[in-house]
């Protein structure tokens, strides 16, 4: 089971990333849980400087951008 977290409170890209990740998970039948983290203190625990942050199995994968689909998928599968 892959644990995915989307870090970010309400920015446009945060919503985009959240939607992308969920769509990729359903499309590819990946066993994963997706949690959207909006609490600032909680977000800062991951040490990112720009949102959205993408965390797969407690590892920060990206910050401040919506990565390409292939890239997200690769991270989801390796996790």
């Amino acid at each position: 089971m892959t644990a995915v977290k989307i870090l970010g409170s309400g920015c446009a890209k945060c919503k985009t990333l959240h939607a992308r990740v969920q769509e990729l998970i359903t499309q590819n039948n990946i066993m994963a849980t997706v949690i959207k983290v909006e609490d600032l203190v909680e977000i800062m625990k991951y040490g990112i400087l720009s949102t959205p942050g993408l965390v797969v199995n407690e590892q920060v994968k990206s910050a401040g951008s919506v990565p390409k689909d292939e890239q997200i998928l690769a991270w989801l599968k390796e996790g």
């Binding site: 920015c11 600032l40 203190v41 991951y46 040490g47 400087l49 720009s50 910050a63 401040g64």
Partner: protein, 357 residues
């Protein structure tokens, strides 16, 4: 035999990769002359459309307005596309993480200059202001230096620069950038000197966040071109409507508002117009795209450059939504000090320009 096959496969893969790189650079090289040709022929094209196709008479209010609109909209959009593309590529070489690392341990004044300059090129969205602020404070970067970054980043942005360049000329665009830098540097320096750290919410200093290193993506030139193009889609897709509307209103002003109409309200003899413009500008949150064309039109009707500049800077640089976001980490006194110091800086710029021109 198998090894041979693998080698061959790798070889093909490499050439394919090189080919697509060449392709994307080739595309850029191909588009550039088309862009230049379009840009240079805009004047003739507009003349042809207005005078020949629509056969509108010269020197009439409506003709002036229509000409202005048909000429300026494609011109500004062309400029915007090119500049946003180039800036988008430049920004792939910067990140908030790198900027933070560069600012760590820098003394006050040097830090303010660096933070303001990096604020222009570092990718930044005001929706990320809080994580960035917390991350800077956590790394021990002084408050004043952090503020220099937070002032410069939204105020000096590529959309504002493009519109100023396209509608006012390069001199005004350059002035805006220089004045924006000076305001960001001095305001940050003043905030740092006043030692306002106690007006940051206490919990901010208790945060312990790990300095995770997100594995630096290795970007090829292809990826960077892609990012530049993504930036074009995102920025132009968002602001084009404001540009069209702003220029439409500007065109109306050009055609119908009488000369010197604005002289008594925004002229240089009305000294109070500078502080008034700043006061009106702070709560206004219009993006640069909508406001600059209108201000440009007013400039032709007797408004003075200093007043116009002060108005634009306060609209773009100081925004209510950003202050509301910052309220989560700053006490009201510090937000007031921030708005007050930057506001005074903008007023000084306005007065100086009204005195010079």
């Amino acid at each position: 035999m198998i090894t041979c096959g693998i080698v061959r496969f790798d070889f093909i893969a490499i050439t394919m990769k090189q080919l697509s790189t060449v392709n994307k650079i080739g595309m850029v090289v191909l588009f550039l002359p088309i862009w230049i040709a379009l840009y240079l022929s805009l004047d003739q094209l507009t003349r042809f459309i207005v005078h020949s196709l629509l056969s509108m008479p010269e020197d009439e209010h409506l003709t002036t307005a229509v000409f202005f609109f048909i000429y300026e909209v494609p011109k500004v959009l062309l400029l915007l596309t090119l500049i946003v593309f180039v800036v988008g590529i430049i920004r792939t070489y910067f990140s908030p993480e790198k900027t933070r690392a560069a600012l760590e341990g820098k003394p006050l004044f040097v830090g303010n200059v660096m933070a303001s300059s990096l604020g222009i090129v570092t990718p930044f969205c005001s929706c990320s202001a809080i994580p960035l602020f917390l991350g800077f404070v956590e790394a021990g970067i002084p408050l004043g230096i952090t503020f220099s970054f937070l002032i410069a980043a939204p105020m000096i942005n590529e959309v504002a620069i493009v519109l100023l360049f396209g509608l006012f000329g390069w001199e005004t665009a350059l002035l805006y950038v220089l004045m924006g830098l000076i305001i960001a540097i001095t305001s940050g320096w003043v905030i740092g000197t006043l030692k306002l750290e106690r007006y940051v919410e206490e919990w901010v200093y208790k945060i312990k966040s790990p300095h995770v290193s997100i594995n630096e993506e290795t970007l090829t030139i292809n990826d960077r071109i892609d990012r530049g193009w993504d930036a074009v889609k995102e920025v132009v897709g968002k602001v084009w409507i404001y540009i069209v509307l702003g220029i439409a209103v500007g065109a109306g002003v050009h055609g119908y508002v009488p000369e010197n109409f604005m002289a008594s309200i925004m002229g240089k003899d009305a000294w109070w117009s500078v502080p008034l413009s700043v006061l009106i500008g702070i709560p206004m949150y219009s993006n640069a795209a909508g406001i600059i064309p209108i201000v440009q039109a007013l400039l032709g009707k007797g408004a003075s450059l200093g007043t116009a500049l002060a108005f634009m800077m306060s609209v773009i640089g100081l925004s209510l939504p950003e202050m509301i976001i910052l309220k989560k980490v700053l006490k009201i006194q510090l937000i007031a000090a921030f708005a007050g110091i930057v506001g005074i800086g903008i007023m000084i710029v306005g007065f100086i320009f009204n005195a010079i021109y």
